[in-house]
Symmetry: C2
Subunit: 294 residues, 2 copies
């Protein structure tokens, strides 16, 4: 792809990744592990398929795949993490649309899940999609190294949970005045924090997961264990060496590990340079990985 | 503890583990990672605490801790996986009690979460507890080996999701006749499968997680990769050797790895012998690990 062609290439790539994501989600849901064929909960699976297939820009899988490509990861591999992230996004739409939440009847021009099925089914479909995301991340197809997979699990859980998307949704409901006679007045900084949690956390996971899959994040982690300030890092440092762990630092030494990390990030930045401001988020992700102190 | 004293020791141990679980859940929720103190979603955290703290037999954490103890794992370590499992159990209670599901107003003599708070908060509290379970499992405190932690993630996701608890709940709603004018007539085998998914899957995870944390499960897995029938195992075998993986089989050879596995399981069975029928479930878990063909 010629990156200088501008918008049309971007759209082509977005559509390509959307089609691959749709295909992968379809296959993953069709092959979901079941204790017995006879006990297959058909209505639940139908509702999960309804909530995930047949549309959507798949912008979050795009972020995963493109940020992983910056670190040289082939698309087949990063699509698994992209599909997991999309499951979390789709679960959040199903639950947000519920009568007790935003009470929406339509989504992308179709009836919302609780309208097409019923409320109980929609609640269970959302729960099962969230759970399925972690099943997907846990598989060797996502990455052969269990250390990388568990880093993805932790990052995805934190992006989705009470300190991320779900917490942001709660703050948003509170800001609407749901739980008080007078809605709280939020300042700009507070609105920004709310949005960063409700919407930003999953987008940020999309960008960061590429660096995790591309192993730049792990190298940065190993360096922090040697050089980090325990106060800033938020945990004891120097533990890897004590445990004789097989880290990049142990194998290469601190200076060469740093060179490798900066090399990976420089490659990422060079790849992004021609995209100008459209790549702002991905550039920020690359810099974040290189410069993190915690 | 003298195992021959019978019931009272069992109750003492159950209560001890319940108290430790309560204490750990309290600390984990109080220290949940937050992007900014100012953005802390207080109502959400309160509702999560309401749903998890202040009661419950903690039978699932008991299964985790006791089954891990069979494999020589100290309680401090297995309590983390126990707390994660309890988060999943408590989320399922909150969602099952919702008006669209079983519509219950009371649970353990207290108002259910959506009565004490509201429906939107209860939905988000359940979602966040499910997510938090995977955050807990992902931490090094659960087990230093990322391979063990990711095996726990996968087993927990499968026990909780569409092929486990959530799928069983869906089948149960269908059996009540929610989605058809005439409820389907279930035979005994179908009722048993429904219950095995809805309730059994989390209990089974409780028993199996001990073997995973105690690493017996990993050894069985390594042996299957060498000796298993790809058809039965459901994936290609012989991949570990091709990838030069550091498995028990690679280090010990197949025969000594088997001896180690059977030794671990025999220790487990000897520990359980004095408990008689009260330990039936844990004995079955130990045998399952030793005899699995897939």
């Amino acid at each position: 792809m010629s990156v200088n062609d501008g918008g049309s290439d971007f759209v082509t790539r977005l559509n390509e990744i959307a089609a691959s994501t749709e295909d992968l989600l379809d296959r993953l849901l069709a092959a979901a592990p079941m204790p017995a064929e006879r006990a297959r909960p058909k209505r639940l699976i139908e509702s999960m398929r309804y909530a995930t297939l047949g549309g959507g820009k798949r912008f979050r899988p795009f972020l995963v795949v493109e940020s992983a490509a910056l670190f040289g990861v082939p698309r087949e591999r990063s699509l698994m993490a992209g599909a997991a992230l999309e499951c979390v996004h789709c679960y959040s739409l199903v639950h947000d649309d519920l009568p007790a939440m935003d009470n929406d009847d339509l989504r992308r021009g179709r009836p919302t899940a609780h309208k097409a099925f019923d409320e109980a089914t929609a609640i269970l479909a959302g729960d099962s999609l969230l759970t399925f995301a972690f099943d997907i991340v846990s598989r060797t197809e996502t990455h052969p190294d269990p250390g990388i997979r568990i880093a993805l699990v932790q990052a995805l859980a934190r992006a989705s949970g009470l300190g991320g998307m779900a917490g942001g949704q709660m703050l948003d409901l509170a800001a609407e005045g749901r739980f008080a006679q007078t809605p709280p007045r939020l300042g700009l900084a507070e609105v920004e924090e709310l949005q960063a949690m409700k919407t930003g956390a999953l987008l940020r996971f999309g960008c960061l997961s590429g660096a995790i899959i591309g192993e730049a994040f792990q190298i940065a982690d190993d360096i922090l264990d040697v050089e980090g300030d325990p106060e800033t890092v938020g945990k004891a440092t120097g533990k890897d060496a004590d445990a004789h762990k097989a880290t990049a630092v142990a194998v290469l030494g601190v200076e060469r590990a740093k060179q490798k990390l900066f090399g990976l990030v420089a490659d990422a930045e060079a790849t992004l340079a021609p995209f100008g401001t459209r790549a702002t988020m991905l550039k920020a992700a690359a810099r974040f990985v290189a410069e993190r102190r915690a």
